[in-house]
Symmetry: C2
Subunit: 446 residues, 2 copies
């Protein structure tokens, strides 16, 4: 047997249904916020990511040469492709530009729990706005998505990389040196960060201040602990927090230890985590950044986030959050060969009325058909018998209760559409109610 490649997954119908359901809630929330979807290719020129993240990322990518000798790579993330697209083609669009996207990304790493070589990201970017409002908008969307999908016990940790960068700059540490220190701090490797800071000749006071700041975490009031330090960054972060309060965003935490070591992060940075997930607790990360100029565009202020879709699903599962299951409405069973045509006729009519309908394709016995219908979770079986058909009647069987009533063929569509109509199918709607009508005689149903 040929196996699927290591670190990748196949998704069977039940799993796929869950994924699509959560994805649809995420999309819907993004659209409620006025974001619009875009898509970029599965592979890109490798250069796009080495420019953004340095040549080290080549080690972690599925990079390959095409037959024309071009260095390509499966995309390891989506912000760089979106900004490339923006720089090449979207600079004339009205700003701010609010974009979201969802799709597979690829990283060549050892497969382990919650980490796959092919994984899915849902993300959003807000391009062209430079105020605390825009950071608040992005954090608000990420948080609202987590709330909407039913996630519990998550924390939204918000920091500002500019506060640390300001201090480093005052001490003459910028560029790669600053990044190196920030990366150590991001990993809470304080001793190693201290060694680098000492090497770069920073004062003991500044080193202490920086390490102290990265340990500041709590309600908005903790920003007062930064009294000695009156930077623009502190004021900016306060404003972001105020807007988020007004927007009613829950589980907020100021945490200046959120560092995100990459060079292109410029201001507010944030992470959403589910502490109960342990080492894989981070389900979302983002912040404001400056990338367009790296890709040959004009400098433009942007802020965005990426949600680790797979990890978020793992969190939902651990929290035993129930996801509504779709069911096929009807399964049509002809009892004789002669009635097969009639069965297809009824099937076609129900389908054209948007009632999801399956029909015996195997010429099975009644018993085997009912067993199959039950195994695929059908809501109603419609049974066509010779005697009933002479009176233009079929038997409608509630597959959950086993209850069975005769119903006129002419009333069938209406009865089922009515039962369905109680709670019309809507994206994210409660599908359990969809066909929740009590089984009743046709005369009761209108």
């Amino acid at each position: 047997m040929i196996q699927r490649p290591r670190g990748t997954r196949d998704f069977a119908p039940d799993e796929m249904e869950k994924r699509r359901y959560i994805e649809s809630l995420m999309r819907k929330e993004a659209e409620i916020f006025g974001f619009r979807e875009i898509a970029t290719p599965i592979f890109e020129h490798a250069e796009l990511f080495t420019i953004k993240s340095g040549p080290g990322i080549l080690e972690e990518m599925y990079a390959f040469k095409d037959k024309g000798g071009r260095e390509l790579t499966l995309r390891p993330e989506l912000t760089a492709p979106v900004m490339r697209f923006f720089v090449n083609e979207l600079t004339d669009m009205p700003r701010p530009l609010k974009l979201y996207y969802m799709g597979p990304c690829f990283r060549y790493e050892r497969p382990q729990s919650g980490r796959f070589r092919e994984f899915y990201q849902f993300g959003a970017e807000l391009i062209g706005a430079k105020n605390p409002e825009s950071d608040a908008e992005i954090i608000s969307l990420a948080s609202s998505i987590m709330k909407k999908i039913g996630l519990r016990d998550y924390k939204v940790r918000i920091g500002h990389i500019g506060i640390l960068r300001d201090i480093l700059r005052k001490e003459g540490v910028e560029g790669e040196n600053a990044s190196l220190i920030l990366q150590k701090l991001d990993k809470k490797m304080y001793d190693e960060a201290r060694v680098v800071m000492e090497e770069k000749g920073m004062s003991e006071a500044s080193i202490k201040e920086i390490i102290g700041i990265t340990k500041i975490s709590g309600q908005q009031s903790v920003l007062k602990e930064l009294q000695s330090f009156k930077g623009e960054a502190k004021e900016y972060l306060s404003q972001v927090m105020e807007i988020l309060e007004i927007l009613g965003i829950e589980n907020l935490l100021v945490d200046l230890g959120v560092v995100r070591g990459l060079d292109y992060y410029t201001g507010v940075v944030f992470e959403i985590e589910v502490p109960s997930l342990g080492a894989e607790k981070q389900v979302c990360g983002g912040g404001s950044y400056s990338l367009a100029e790296l890709f040959g565009g004009e400098k433009v202020f942007s802020t965005g986030f990426a949600i680790g879709f797979d990890r978020t699903l793992i969190a939902l599962e651990k929290q035993k959050i129930e996801i509504p299951k779709k069911r096929v409405d009807v399964y049509v069973i002809p009892l004789t060969e002669e009635l097969r045509g009639k069965a297809f006729e009824i099937t076609a009519r129900l389908r054209s009325n948007e009632i999801s309908t399956d029909v015996d394709l195997m010429r099975r016995s009644l018993q085997k058909n009912l067993k199959y219908a039950a195994s695929i979770g059908v809501r109603y079986a419609i049974i066509l018998g010779e005697r009933e058909m002479e009176k233009n009647i079929v038997l409608l069987r509630d597959m959950d209760t086993g209850e069975q009533v005769p119903i006129a063929i002419t009333e069938l569509t209406e009865w089922l559409a009515h039962a369905r109509g109680i709670a019309p199918e809507a994206a994210g709607g409660d599908t359990k109610k969809r066909l929740g009508g009590k089984l009743s005689r046709p005369s009761d149903a209108s």
Copy 2:
């Protein structure tokens, strides 16, 4: 500037919205038919496709070695991955198994009109049923999708590869030799097909019969032209056609020239084409096949199709089929700095009621905000002024008519939800009606 790789595309919001809309109609139709979605990885072991289609396909694939030396490839199509998944993990599921999928595939070929290196397929497979019903079900789904998305002037051409294979077999021509002949016939290269058939020692009568058969095309009655030939295949095809008639499928054509030269096609084969598209007229192809055993599974009868999603969209565009455009419901504009908080409060309340809402993130003037709101196609603007806010009133502006009325903040959500409620948002619903309520005083709206 870094360009996207040749032959790939980025999709901007307007284009993406169209694609998602058509995709959602396809998905919905598949689910109405009782099919359920699955997904497989973007890349596979190259072997999967060379086993299915021969080593020649390596030339057309994005094949590469991963860092572990494994031969991988971006998937060129989706039937093989689905059957691999089936053989490895889904053989215990109740049969028939009705699966659908949608995603990008990749072929390394010269980019040209309607052909991309990254292209999208929507497909379905029905696994484990062997009757004319199952072929009819698959053809019916493919055709119903085309009807549902509004495609016009398409033809569903249905043939049976077994009719030709039977004749070849009687003349002792099987396996690769048969495939070679069928491939020539598929391309209507009759002279070359004749040369091969003569080489293989076939009788002149059989050669004439075969070439004659591939030219048979028309209503179901043309099957009578096959009177001299009483094969199982002919009877089977007749039954498929009869079921399709009962199901009310339109634009059907028996066409024994539909050949599909690949070895694993075993029975009924079909193509949907839009003749006005010229060389790129085929938008869907499928048929019954036998692949599971190639991948180490037991032999199982399957039938399925793949729709060329991109080409189908081109056809819809050429036919000027209108696709409803989503609009953001509301854009909130505070006229002063002090009212910014209030603007976020209103924004949050509307969003939590699922009214899609955008808000000024740029601290712009009223005029600039209205210009922006118009440019992104918002339906209503809500304007917050000092004097109105003292009375807890805002101005609601219809962005299409410019009409502007005062409305109490307490009534805002209800008014908008009501306007929206006239035609609730549903997958595939008419979004034009969504906020189609006439602008009226709040008192009229309840």
